[in-house]
Symmetry: C2
Subunit: 136 residues, 2 copies
């Protein structure tokens, strides 16, 4: 079961259309949510739909403010297990109200964001460690 080297891991991650953000609150309770994202350098950007009337939707923001450590996972599943792979980016996240660079890279990757630019807030995740695995 071969590991992916950090360069291979980073390339596969950058091309993925969706990833899953794992955070934890100050007491260590984990949380996970899917997110679209764009990678530039070793920074992952994502836009957060604030949904001010649904407090649970903001848990990722509260978690990041209390505990900036995050793990972001991109993976490929198929019933043919010889094609499986995953990549994990471990790093630290910040919440940004304004993020022009995030808007640029997200709009370049997703047509939806070109048509309707996200209002934010945004997450900027500085990746400290790339890891990954591929079945073949």
């Amino acid at each position: 079961m071969p590991s992916l080297d950090p360069g291979q891991a980073r390339l596969r991650f950058a091309a993925a259309r969706v990833a899953r953000l794992a955070t934890a609150d100050a007491t260590g309770a984990p949380h996970a949510v899917p997110m679209v994202f764009a990678l530039t350098g070793d920074t992952i950007y994502s836009a957060v739909d604030a949904k001010p009337k649904r407090t649970t939707a903001l848990r990722r923001l509260a978690n990041v403010r209390a505990n900036p450590r995050v793990a972001v996972l991109a993976d490929h599943y198929d019933d043919d297990w010889s094609t499986l792979w995953w990549v994990r980016a471990d790093g630290e996240a910040r919440v940004l109200d304004q993020a022009p660079e995030a808007l640029t890279v997200l709009a370049a990757k997703y047509e939806q964001y070109r048509n309707t630019p996200p209002q934010g807030p945004f997450l900027a995740i500085e990746v400290r460690h790339w890891s990954g695995w591929s079945a073949s």
Copy 2:
């Protein structure tokens, strides 16, 4: 952006072929890894390939032993964002060396496990809360 009620969330989760397990260690550092799983009642079972020579592969087990709280996410992504959905199961995990019920339900769901039963250890996750969201 409609929430899924717990019954709907549970049904979608049960049918998913892969989920992502988010754990955190005793210091609150989150971790995420994809996993195949089977749901029976409100218990999620998964088999862990122990890989004794690769200590990083055991981080999910060390985390669960230190901090049993976990979040498990199943989601659907497509570039047509009107079809997106996700379901999250929040609960507590245990590590089991032997788990006959896990073997039975995993083999019923995955052909690979019928051909080669997993040796374990296993994770048993008692789901305390189902939540989910669907774009349409």
